[in-house]
Symmetry: C2
Subunit: 305 residues, 2 copies
């Protein structure tokens, strides 16, 4: 299904953004990794960062910033920080004591290559470095906006966000009697909060001060986060190991209850499309200003892995 | 050995500080933990925080702040944050894939009670919460000072500090050919950096702007951090399991190379005293202003666990 049917004149811009994004992030990361004192730690951190995925969260930040006239160098700051947080969470999530995953994006997971202890530490170091980047990376971002970013990011990924969702995932998602409401609450915490934070961080890197924009972007981020997570579950059941870059049916093997298992595969697909439409509606009032965000969302909708 | 021989008129103040500190921290922690959405995560975090040790790092912050006329409510912010960072590092350090410790302060370690996965997540959540507290906890601290604190804390505990030291500990400290220099570098990274950060954070919570003070406090923190770490190794070899609250000779069982193993037990004790004297010298010029810091250091020197 395509939710954007009209011709898309700015496709080049999204293409360019997607081309530029990995290089911009790489520059931020190497600024901090080059002189770190512990070689084995640096090697593990680099291995995980180089095995980058779609860089979807940074792309959301750059696309939001573009909508609100942020300077690209100021967007590098939250984009780098969020990608570090996301990477740390994947490393810890893949550990044997969590999801016990051997493959990530087609390559052996960090603990498979460097051992569990070094994987824990590399995750921890990336986690801290995210905050260090917000506090110290060059750019013309004001101190006020930087501290606000620390607040937004920590609230989204700590015990009020991602970490809480991961913990509930660990305790509740093997229970076949889990309610649909609780499942959605877990998805919101473990995935949507960080998506919504990306939108807010992109806005905070810009001169925008409008509360209406803030609320609309949060609604957009929340909703695509949910859609993305349910779509992940659908892909886990439908896609091949090759297209996923990790073993297919991993949730099934971990006896995880997911949205498509509770509501059925077809209902899950309908839900994903409904959520993407809801997200579009939230930023409809922005018109052309949000075109890049719409195109990025379209890409998310069409992804196969 | 007592390095402070003169009578100590302000002993009452240190006693009071030590009495008040746990309650002040508890208030900060409960402000954030009460409404967290994931019950199992909250339980694990609380278990670790309630099993508090000497609260030495927060005490260093309060004592430094007292020397520079900081408001106690502004000191609560870095004191809470640092204790969370310290607690997270202990949880991860105790994991089977790291030091594999069953006891911490006389109680079973987090992973023993709640499982390895929940222990990883509780550590992660405490880690993030530390930054959230600096960004959001009530107080009259300026935005500038708060962001500066994020910088100081993240630099001290990430890939340029504690996490690097832990990684080097993991890779190098089982090698019998490790040089004394490398051993000291690891101690500096894994322990001293956070100690030095405590001094700087206490100063940053105050109106002080003096670069001489900054350098002196850093020197003091670095030095007592090294002393503390070597003393830890000595205690691990000499103290009883009961006084340590964790199994004695744990380093030996983990085949860890430590300062007293390289240089001998007596040399290690001499080094600890020499470092404490060096630390005293660094803040000598502060006179009575730093009396609380001296007394606290004296307590550290006399500790048995």
């Amino acid at each position: 299904m395509s939710v954007i049917t009209k011709s898309n004149p700015s496709n080049l811009t999204l293409t360019k953004l997607m081309q530029d994004c990995p290089g911009r992030l790489e520059k931020v990361f190497s600024h901090y990794l080059t002189n770190t004192p512990a070689l084995a730690l640096k090697t593990t951190m680099s291995y995980c960062l180089e095995n980058g995925g779609k860089r979807l969260r940074p792309l959301l930040i750059y696309a939001t910033g573009q909508a609100f006239n942020a300077l690209p160098e100021n967007l590098d700051i939250p984009a780098g920080a969020v990608e570090l947080i996301h990477t740390y969470s994947l490393i810890h999530d893949d550990l044997p004591c969590m999801d016990n995953a051997d493959l990530r994006r087609g390559k052996p997971t960090a603990h498979q290559v460097y051992g569990d202890g070094m994987a824990v530490l590399a995750g921890d170091a990336l986690h801290t470095l995210a905050m260090q980047i917000i506090a110290t990376h060059p750019g013309s971002l004001s101190i006020q906006r930087r501290l606000h970013m620390v607040k937004v990011l920590s609230t989204a990924c700590g015990p009020y966000g991602m970490a809480a969702g991961q913990a509930m995932d660990l305790t509740a998602m093997n229970d076949p009697s889990i309610s649909g409401d609780l499942l959605m609450e877990i998805y919101r915490l473990k995935t949507s909060k960080l998506f919504a934070a990306c939108l807010e961080l992109g806005r905070l890197a810009s001169p925008d001060d409008d509360e209406i924009n803030q609320r609309a972007l949060q609604q957009f981020g929340d909703t695509i986060g949910l859609a993305f997570q349910i779509q992940d579950d659908v892909l886990d059941m439908e896609a091949t190991t090759e297209s996923l870059g990790k073993p297919q049916n991993h949730d099934e093997k971990n006896h995880k209850i997911t949205y498509p298992k509770v509501y059925g595969l077809e209902s899950a697909k309908v839900k994903v499309n409904a959520l993407y439409l809801e997200a579009l509606e939230a930023i409809d009032y922005l018109g052309n200003q949000a075109q890049l965000l719409r195109e990025l969302m379209q890409q998310m909708l069409e992804r196969k892995g």
